[in-house]
């Protein structure tokens, strides 16, 4: 059925291209059912469920849930925490199951599974042909927090690197990766790892519990914590700006960068700050929302609402030039993050 649909699609698009594009004879084949749309990872029920991934076409006309199990006939693990793309592949991290499922990001066909060497895996970044996965280890002990280094050609863990504290978000820039370490009011550093030598080069002190990392157009790293917003030059690894919180923004999270602006979420509202500004705004762009996560891309905000964490969540998009709603789709249990495929 799926194959038939795919063939039909291939055929019709092929026709379209042959009839309309005279100057280009190379037919562009679709790479899979899940191209040109959004992938939304879902944590699923922590106690007795598994995580899922949903697909929503760019125009919101097609919505398909549980695409991993639809394609592969088996489920992902418990609490799908995050996903990362590398080339045609997507790496899906199941936190409680200590597992990474590797799929083709367009067809969602399973390519490989990594299920050894991980302990409470959270996020992953790719640099120099290697995957770097943040692992909490056990929650309490502070000396078992690490990065697992994966050789992406063999999909095996080849090394581990200790981190300062519980490692959360991770981002790659050049031959470096930056790891936010800290959560639940503890930990306040960004660890810098050289991905040629796979060693911890330095720890940059930031605010308490850094919760999100973003790179801006100049390649500067922005670190949002429960204390402040910090800009770091990724060449010198020095803090170049510290923006303090204000009375409106007391517990910010979910930092995004889009076209010269930074966006963050605090107390049920979305705030926008120009990257050149030195203070956070007092007034919100969008209020009265409850986002478990949000992403901003090309002037559109994608807000995920996990509701009561027991019933279906939603995705709502907003046009940031007018701050009005564009589309809404009903999702599954605890939608965690939007990925642009």
């Amino acid at each position: 059925m799926k194959l038939n649909k795919l063939l039909l699609l291939t055929f019709s698009i092929g026709l379209f291209f042959t009839s309309c594009t005279n100057d280009d004879d190379t037919p562009v084949l679709p790479r899979g059912d899940y191209e040109n749309g959004l992938l939304i990872s879902h944590e699923g029920s922590f106690t007795d469920g598994v995580g899922t991934v949903s697909f929503i076409s760019d125009d919101f006309t097609t919505v398909e849930h549980n695409i991993f199990s639809n394609v592969n006939g088996r489920t992902l693990g418990t609490v799908v925490q995050s996903m990362v793309f590398n080339g045609d592949l997507a790496y899906i991290i199941s936190n409680v199951s200590n597992r990474i499922d590797i799929v083709n990001r367009y067809t969602f066909e399973s390519v490989a599974t990594i299920d050894t060497g991980l302990s409470n895996p959270r996020y992953m970044a790719v640099s120099n042909g290697k995957g770097y996965v943040t692992n909490w280890g056990d929650f309490t002990p502070a000396d078992d927090d690490y990065l697992a280094v994966i050789d992406l050609t063999t999909n095996t863990i080849i090394d581990t690197i200790s981190t300062s504290y519980l490692p959360e978000e991770i981002i790659a820039q050049g031959d470096q990766i930056f790891v936010a370490t800290g959560v639940f009011g503890l930990g306040n550093s960004v660890d810098v790892i050289n991905t040629i030598t796979d060693t911890l080069e330095e720890s940059i002190t930031v605010g308490n519990s850094p919760n999100s990392l973003q790179l801006d157009a100049d390649g500067d790293l922005w670190v949002l914590s429960s204390e402040n917003l910090i800009e770091i030059n990724t060449t010198t690894n020095e803090v170049i700006k510290t923006v303090e919180l204000n009375n409106s923004i007391t517990a910010p999270s979910k930092l995004n960068f889009d076209s010269g602006n930074l966006y963050l979420f605090s107390g049920g509202a979305v705030y926008k700050m120009e990257a050149t500004a030195t203070t956070l705004p007092e007034t919100a762009e969008i209020e009265g929302v409850s986002f478990y996560d949000m992403s901003v891309r090309n002037g559109v905000l994608y807000g995920l609402d996990a509701k009561d964490f027991q019933s279906a969540g939603t995705l709502t998009t907003y046009d940031l030039s007018t701050n009005t709603e564009i589309n809404t789709a009903t999702l599954r249990i605890i939608p965690g993050e939007v990925y642009f495929n």
Partner: protein
């Protein structure tokens, strides 16, 4: 003719007096033998099912296994032997009270009792009281209550029982108990130990239940002594000491471990003097747990609560048809733990019960209760229940009550999140029961309605921090049918029990059935005896349930057992039993992703002398 009528009248009044005298004797006996007489005397309109020791003995050893097959309760078990939560009539585990010799023993930390931590072996009677009972039994008696009772036998005896069992997954059970008594003094003590690797195969997969081993030891000691003709001093003690690995799921491994301990001691002084009987109880309860995220290292989080409770109970029998009881209770709770400092709570309650039998056919109770707690306001509670005997075989029971569940220590003090502004959950309910009693056949039908408001649920706030709030309203309604039958033909004894319940339990706002409440649940037990040979079959059906974001299929599971009485000569009794659980080897889960055991065997031998 007239003469005959006169004789008949005389006879019937005489009979009546005789019956009344018997009742008196029974009530006096109850006061002495039972620690929780209100379960007998003030429950006219409430469905109470007594599980006899023959049934208790047939289902060693956890309360979960016993009740899943022998009551209308529905259980969620996180894998065999793991945390087990009961549900009465679509309510939840913290709305089910467990009463040990009249005292509510639900955890102050999470408001519930884990039914896999109660070893049934050392109790003489287990009663299942369906419906609200907060007036008599306090917080959490919303859906119903389970009563674990030890009896004190003031007769001349000295009995000892030794039971050994061995089964699949290297499961070993040992139980030794002894009872001694005369007309003035009695003592009984028992110790029960269970140990299991619990590494059963997950049917249909290549994996086994890893990290599921458990062991626990239960100790009971009960004493009774007549200080004078009117005064009896009693001491009850029970302790539980358990260590369990917490098994993972089909998709997630686990290496955690849980250790918990419970100590319960009660000293009771009963005085019976004419129409008055009074009981003064001093109770000490201690619960503590340690949770190890990784059993390989010694890092753990812990919680503990120490409870001191004083209870005075005065019963006044105005006449043979009218009696009153007052209950005053003061409790003090001292908590401590990794996540909530050292909170304290004081509670006081005053209860008034009235039992009235206006006619021989009709009897009712009126009950009132007021609680005062240091942390929050409590509702005024009441219950009315009654029974009308339409004929010798048919009776109607009814009850209406208001019940509550107080916020737990976790709800109030857990850091972060604990919310000191919580109110108790409040619940109203109605229950109508019909009972039909024939010589060889009994039948019960109950219909009920329960509305609960201010349900406490943990929800994330705007900043994503979780905290408990009084948020939801739910309603449950449904029907329960129970049928029992006993047939005796020469040396052949056949007994049958069957239960079915239909339960709707929904969130009033969303009109959706709550998760983990099956619409349909039923069970059947058939036991057959012929001289020294016995066998039984028990079957349980649980319908499909909703779970978060999905559905979990229903299941059927059956156990079969054979027994042989080897020696009954003189005083020594020796029997051997073989039991096959899940004998059709079916894969089933009662909590999603946590398979229950495949077919497994137990051999049990009992020696009594």
């Amino acid at each position: 003719m007239r003469h005959n009528i006169f004789i008949l009248l005389l006879f019937s009044t005489g009979f009546c007096n005789l019956a009344q005298a018997q009742l008196d004797a029974i009530q006096k006996l109850d006061e002495v033998v039972l620690s929780d007489t209100k379960l007998v005397q003030y429950t006219t309109g409430i469905k109470v099912e007594k599980l006899k020791d023959s049934i208790i003995n047939k289902n060693p050893v956890s309360l979960t296994g016993l009740l899943a097959f022998n009551s209308n309760l529905y259980f969620k078990e996180n894998g065999f032997g793991m945390v087990s939560s009961p549900s009465f009539r679509g309510t939840n585990a913290s709305q089910t009270a467990v009463i040990w010799n009249g005292i509510n023993i639900n955890s102050q930390l999470n408001g519930q009792t884990d039914f896999n931590t109660i070893n049934t072996t050392n109790f003489d009677a287990i009663d299942i009281r369906s419906g609200g009972g907060s007036v008599q039994y306090g917080s959490g008696a919303i859906g119903g209550s389970i009563h674990l009772n030890n009896n004190l036998e003031f007769t001349s005896h000295f009995d000892t029982q030794l039971r050994l069992a061995y089964g699949s997954f290297d499961t070993r059970m040992t139980n030794i108990s002894s009872s001694y008594g005369n007309s003035k003094f009695t003592v009984n003590a028992g110790i029960a130990y269970i140990d299991s690797d619990n590494d059963y195969k997950y049917l249909g997969t290549d994996s086994v239940n890893e990290n599921g081993a458990f062991n626990n030891v239960n100790f009971n000691l009960n004493l009774g002594y007549f200080i004078s003709e009117k005064d009896v001093l009693k001491l009850y003690h029970q302790s539980y000491n358990g260590e369990r690995e917490f098994s993972g799921t089909l998709v997630a491994p686990s290496n955690s471990k849980y250790e918990d301990e419970n100590y319960r001691t009660m000293l009771e002084w009963t005085r019976i003097s004419g129409a008055f009987s009074s009981k003064l109880k001093a109770v000490h309860l201690n619960e503590r747990f340690k949770y190890f995220e990784n059993k390989a290292n010694n890092l753990f989080s812990f919680g503990k609560v120490n409870t001191w409770l004083f209870n005075h109970n005065l019963n006044y029998r105005v006449s043979n048809t009218l009696q009153f009881r007052s209950i005053l209770e003061f409790s003090r709770f001292d908590g401590g733990g990794s996540s909530f400092g050292d909170p304290r709570r004081n509670a006081f309650s005053a209860t008034m019960l009235m039992n009235h039998k206006p006619t021989t056919r009709f009897e009712y109770n009126l009950n009132l209760r007021r609680d005062v707690t240091s942390d929050f306001e409590n509702p005024f509670l009441f219950s009315v229940d009654g029974a009308y005997r339409v004929s010798n075989t048919y009776a109607i029971q009814f009850n209406a009550s208001k019940n509550f569940r107080i916020p737990t220590f976790n709800d109030l003090y857990w850091q972060p999140g604990g919310n000191l502004d919580l109110n108790p959950e409040q619940s109203y309910q109605l229950d109508l029961g019909h009972t039909l009693d024939f010589k060889a056949f009994n039948f019960k039908l109950n219909t009920y309605y329960i509305a609960t408001e201010d349900l406490i649920q943990w929800r994330p706030d705007n900043s994503g921090d979780w905290m408990p709030i009084n948020v939801a309203k739910s309603q449950s309604y449904g029907a329960e049918i129970e049928a029992f039958s006993k047939i005796k033909l020469k040396l052949n004894h056949l007994s049958f029990s069957g239960r079915y319940s239909y339960t709707v339990s929904e969130n009033i706002e969303t009109k959706k059935q709550l998760i983990y409440v099956p619409f349909h649940k039923g069970n059947v037990s058939i036991a057959y005896n012929h001289a020294v040979f016995s066998m039984f079959y028990q079957h349980q059906f649980n319908g499909e349930v909703l779970i978060i974001g999905d559905r979990l299929s229903g299941y059927n599971v059956g156990n079969i057992g054979f027994g042989c009485l080897i020696n009954k000569n003189g005083k020594v009794h020796y029997d051997i039993n073989l039991r096959v659980n899940n004998f059709r080897d079916r894969e089933y889960q009662n909590v999603a992703l946590r398979p229950m055991p495949n077919r497994n065997y137990q051999i049990i031998t009992t020696i009594k002398f």
